[in-house]
């Protein structure tokens, strides 16, 4: 067995778990800050989540070994999702309810 091939998923899992535990810190922020601060926190939360998602897609789902087209399609979804979510958030702040 190729030991390098065995270890890589464990290293990836450790990295993803570490990021998840670090998210505890972000989640503990009491966001009674200014609007700009809230948008920055929202952008950070979305960004960190999408980085984790991309790592799962590239590593666990083996897209890094897949044809380039599949990698581009999945990256396109990641980028579009980030842009749409941030856009949706900013649009929501522009049209507050009540």
């Amino acid at each position: 067995m190729n030991s390098g091939f065995e270890k890589r998923p464990i290293v990836i899992w450790l990295a993803l778990s570490a990021i998840t535990i670090l998210q505890l810190g972000i989640g503990s922020i009491d966001a009674r800050a200014a609007l700009a601060g809230k948008a920055a926190i929202a952008a950070s939360v979305i960004g960190i989540a999408l980085i984790k998602v991309r790592i799962i897609i590239r590593e666990f789902m083996e897209v890094r070994h897949a044809p380039v087209l599949l990698g581009r399609l999945t990256d396109l979804w990641v980028v579009l999702t980030g842009a749409i979510l941030l856009g949706g958030y900013l649009a929501g702040t522009a049209f507050p309810k009540g």
Binding site: E6, W13, Q23, I26, S28, K38, F60, H65, A66, T81
Partner: protein, 199 residues
Amino acid sequence: MTSIASTRSRAHGSPETERFVPGQPDMWAFVLFEAFVFTAYFTVYVFSRARTPDVFRQSQMHLDLRVGVVNTLLLLTSSLFVARCVQAAREGSYRAATTNAFLTMLFGSVFLVSKVREWAMEIGQGFTFTTDEFFSFYYFLTAIHFIHLLIGFVALAVAVRQLTSPARRSQVIVETCATYWHTIDFLWVLIFALLYVMR
């Protein structure tokens, strides 16, 4: 259908020269479709949240962030095991592959129990689907993910059946099942961030 033996070279060939689609391409079309559907759900959520941030923040305080973290770690661990299952099958270690598939099921099951327990606690405290917008999204997103996870168990059962039957073994099918399971994992990573972490 591709046999495990005939695709074993994938594990040893140079990734740069032997690129391959993991699993069936149809599954990838489904994964991308599902991903965009969930993007639509998430967009409505963040839009609604930004319109009434105080309602969402106050209701969100009733969720235990630590439970969300533990659930995320459970699914990440299940993803690790299903990735190892694919590796082991590719190398012809069918027993190890089956063990890893069962470990995936184990961590997925603990996630299911944890999720039902969390729902029971929230409902017990009076927070239901109709309490407010936040809890409507909370129950909708977690329930639809829960259903996807249940389907994931069917996929894992298919993988185990493939691995335990020498006449039926197909690396492509095992990879297809794993691809579906990983999709459930990465969708949860986003749900966790939006429901539990976002402030």
